[in-house]
């Protein structure tokens, strides 16, 4: 506890030991100590307008969104660049993110260009971040991070595609080592982006992974949970196990059931009830207002 509270990194053996222990509460308490040292009581949340690359964007982008996130997999780089430009036009000064590392590699292959050229063109068109950088799907994470930073992408957000729980602690430890080198990583989103409806992850596994990510990578600023994918109940509990950022919150201001049940109120209420202070941030990780 003492070592964690001063931000010391735990050894891979210690992390493995924590990941194997059935008792999640001591783990949660440990992660919470570190989380509070880094963020005190603040929990940031980001309202994201998710928008398919081939969709009419003006309709999909709510004024309340703080980031426009392009989804889908365009076939060619010109299509991707055009989607980014259109999103840039709608987003104004808000961040535009989109696509995954796999898309970037595929576009490079399809156009017979290099990955850096693809990244460069997307960046020039106005892309602020590659939305998904799945640690379990990238052959060389070091190289990917170098290429991204060289192309002008900073404050990277590392994700997990579908790696089993047992494989993930090693990924978080890798991220911590990588962060020592360059410091480009802003956030880790430790829960899988690909959900398996027939074999869903469990509550124990989810909060344990959040806590392990927090402890394995104390030098990465944020541990995120995806609000829409994981739902308010799990996301809220994760805040007491080391998470400090709620990604992918609804940008809708519609409140058919009254103002108190509007999506934004729901987020703030859950953060409050967990004993934290909700703070809205934008897609570039700056606090809003």
């Amino acid at each position: 506890m003492q070592r964690v509270s001063v931000g010391e990194r735990l050894s891979p053996e210690e992390i493995a030991g924590l990941a194997e222990a059935p008792d999640i509460l001591p783990l949660g308490m440990l992660a919470d100590v570190l989380r509070r040292r880094l963020h005190d009581k603040a929990v940031t949340y980001l309202r994201v307008a998710r928008c398919a690359f081939d969709q009419i964007m003006a309709e999909a982008v709510s004024p309340a969104a703080r980031e426009v996130r392009l989804t889908g997999a365009p076939d060619t780089l010109p299509i991707a660049v055009s989607a980014v430009s259109r999103a840039r036009g709608i987003a104004g000064d808000r961040a535009v993110s989109g696509f995954s590392w796999g898309d970037v590699e595929r576009l490079a292959r399809a156009g017979a260009g290099s990955v850096s050229e693809v990244l460069g063109e997307l960046r020039t068109a106005g892309l602020d971040a590659v939305a998904e950088l799945p640690m379990d799907r990238i052959d060389s994470l070091d190289e990917a991070v170098d290429l991204l930073t060289a192309a002008g992408f900073s404050r990277l957000r590392l994700t997990v595609d579908s790696a089993a729980a047992a494989e993930r602690p090693a990924l978080f430890l890798r991220a911590a080592v990588l962060q020592e080198r360059g410091g480009a990583i802003q956030a880790i989103n430790p829960l899988p982006m690909v959900l398996n409806a027939m074999r869903p992850t469990t509550g124990y596994s989810d909060v344990k992974m959040v806590a392990i990510a927090r402890l394995a990578a104390p030098n990465v600023a944020m541990i995120q949970v995806d609000w829409l994918r994981y739902g308010p109940k799990l996301a809220q509990v994760a805040l007491t196990f080391g998470a400090d950022d709620l990604d992918n919150c609804s940008p809708s201001d519609d409140a058919p059931d009254g103002k108190r049940r509007a999506p934004l109120e729901e987020i703030r209420r859950n953060v409050d009830a967990a004993g934290f202070t909700p703070v809205e941030r934008d897609g570039r990780f700056a606090v809003v207002g």
Binding site: L25, M29, Y204
Partner: protein, 400 residues
């Protein structure tokens, strides 16, 4: 202050109401969980987590109580009102037995057109057909309703129902056992706090075991939640008749009261606090039906030692918006994933054995059944054997 109370709990001491409030308001969530987990470990040292295969059957949705937090009931005369026929209930029992179940949790609205003879005949018929099958039936407000309707005392009603086949009484209808809250929820009329507790006392005296529940998250203060727990603890000191405590959050959809559901953390804190306060109740159930599988499983770290029921069927919280489902496979996966050994149990928390699906083929269940198929508004033939009280039901029975 929190630390001193935590030390007292860890040393096996009993908290008073003021200390419980302090813990609820100020203890960090994981610390509260830790205290609850230590007590769970003491009471259940073998790392066994139990569950029951039974079915939640609601024999009628017609109700005169009109609690404003309920989305399930229909007033007398409503076209959507129903009463299940005996044959429909038998069919549900057959399905329950086929997936390894041994009990019905049978509860329903306060229907003025069902005299005590209907319940007695139903129970006798069930026991005649399925002698070893258990009836965990009729929460205290229903017992009171039957007493008032038939101008009988509570002990007589219990005696007659037991003679007909009642095995145990579920702890439903407790809501919050504070009359200020009950008046605001419009459920004071169906049973005051004293009434509810007194039915349980009478049941315990008659040799029945019962459960106790709490529905939180409407208008009550934390102090009132704790008063509820204290009142249960006092009765338990007196009778020792409660087998388990189950708490769940108010489900607001489609109710007259509306509002919002309390959060997942509120649930885990409330559950953990109950484990600390109710030091004389052995078993705490996880309410996955209101919290979902994930927080349901996390309950096992916050004091719960039981995953409740496979349910098979659920009508009441579904009407209010919750639609989670866990079949036996899923319950067992979650128990094992949390590092516990799953065991089937009966209402008395006696262990019955390992999961049924590991012994024989059982169909997977991906959604909970309902009382009736949509659009089935048939009136069971056996109702005509019983006199109705309401004008609407009298007319219908004459037409039968």
């Amino acid at each position: 202050m929190v630390e001193q109370i935590a030390d007292k709990v860890l040393a096996g001491g009993r908290v008073d109401a003021a200390e419980a409030v302090e813990l609820y308001r100020h203890a960090p969530t994981n610390l509260l969980g830790r205290l609850a987990d230590v007590i769970r470990g003491r009471k259940h040292p073998g790392r066994i987590v139990t569950y029951i295969i039974d079915r939640n059957v609601n024999y009628t949705n017609v109700c005169v109580a009109r609690c404003n937090f309920c989305a399930f009931y229909r007033p007398v005369g409503s076209a959507e009102g129903y009463v299940l026929g005996f044959d429909e209930i038998f069919a549900k029992i057959d399905e329950t037995i086929s997936v390894g179940g041994n009990q019905l949790l049978l509860q329903g609205g306060h229907n003025p057109d069902l005299p005590i003879a209907w319940y007695e005949d139903l129970f006798r018929a069930v026991k005649a057909r399925y002698p070893s099958f258990k009836l965990h039936a009729l929460s205290p407000p229903e017992v009171l309703h039957i007493a008032k309707l038939n101008q009988l005392t509570v002990p007589v009603v219990i005696e007659r129902l037991v003679a007909a086949g009642l095995d145990s009484i579920p702890g439903g209808g407790a809501e919050i056992l504070v009359d200020r809250v009950r008046k605001l929820l419009n459920c004071f009329g169906k049973a005051s706090s004293d009434d509810w507790l007194d039915v349980m006392r009478q049941a315990h005296r008659a040799g029945l075991r019962t459960t106790a529940t709490m529905m939180y998250g409407t208008v009550e203060t934390p102090e009132e939640r704790i008063e509820h727990m204290m009142r249960l603890r006092d009765v338990q000191d007196e009778t020792g008749g409660f087998t388990a405590f189950i708490t769940w959050s108010y489900q607001p959809e489609h109710t007259e009261r509306g509002g919002r559901e309390a959060t997942g953390i509120d649930y885990l804190r409330t559950l953990a606090l109950a484990r600390v306060v109710l030091d004389n109740v052995d078993n705490m159930q996880a309410s996955w039906v209101t919290q979902g599988g994930k927080v349901g499983q996390l309950s096992l770290a916050f004091g719960a030692n039981d995953m409740g029921s496979v349910m098979i069927e659920e009508n009441v919280v579904r009407a209010a918006g919750a639609s989670y489902c866990m079949d036996e496979v899923e319950i067992v996966v979650n128990i094992e994933d949390a590092g516990f050994t799953p065991k089937r149990r009966n209402m008395h928390y006696e262990l019955l054995g390992d999961p049924v699906f590991r012994e024989r083929e059982v169909p997977r269940m991906l959604s909970l059944a309902t009382a009736r198929e949509d659009g089935d508004d048939s009136i069971p033939g056996d109702l005509k054997n019983y006199p109705a009280r309401s004008r609407e039901a009298k007319r219908l029975r004459l037409a039968q």
